[in-house]
Symmetry: C2
Subunit: 115 residues, 2 copies
């Protein structure tokens, strides 16, 4: 059950190092060695993160290049964003309620309808 | 490192049962028993999922009510959507490239610039 594509993507994204790697790749292709530099981490540990990202289709490796640099593949992120859209009205509703509450506070009337 | 808020949210969402529970709560508050109904799962197993969702701030329990129904809290989803926004240009770019490729295919010219 937990091997559906959306779960695999979300699980791959649920790690700050992997999100850091994706942020770096958003600036352009990079080799494993370049990706490892900002982290106090072995190449093996970084490679393990890359395998998770590659398994989720979030990165690809450039073939026919000496160091097989990594490239960002944002397609799975689009699917997450698409899934989240169904919930947008809920978080926008809570923001609206917060704004109403803050407006009441500014009027010195935190209780609102109580007066 | 992996206990940052965004990782906790993404990890909580990386499970089809938990996403199913959120989809159910999007239609209104529900008790644990009601949430368990669609799943062949013990109340204890469902409660475990609810604890994960509650820990991530994705649901809250209604106090002062006999069965303490669960309620959707979409705030953490908004944070995920906000983080994804930085990558939108990448998935839109790949869609553009796909459209160009499909247009070439329709013209019977899959190689494009090769002719």
């Amino acid at each position: 059950m937990s091997t559906d594509k959306l779960s695999v993507t979300l699980s791959a994204l649920a790690d700050p190092t992997r999100r850091g790697i994706l942020a770096r790749l958003a600036t352009g292709e990079a080799t494993v060695k370049e990706l490892a530099e900002p982290y106090e981490m072995s190449l093996a540990a970084v490679s393990k993160h890359l395998k998770v990202l590659e398994g989720a289709g979030l990165i690809s490796r450039v073939k026919d290049a000496q160091y097989r640099p990594c490239r960002l593949e944002a397609g799975p992120m689009r699917d997450v964003a698409g899934w989240l859209e169904d919930y947008r009205k809920f978080w926008e509703a809570s923001l609206d309620q917060l704004e109403i509450y803050l407006a009441e506070l500014q009027k010195g009337d935190p209780g609102g309808s109580r007066n």
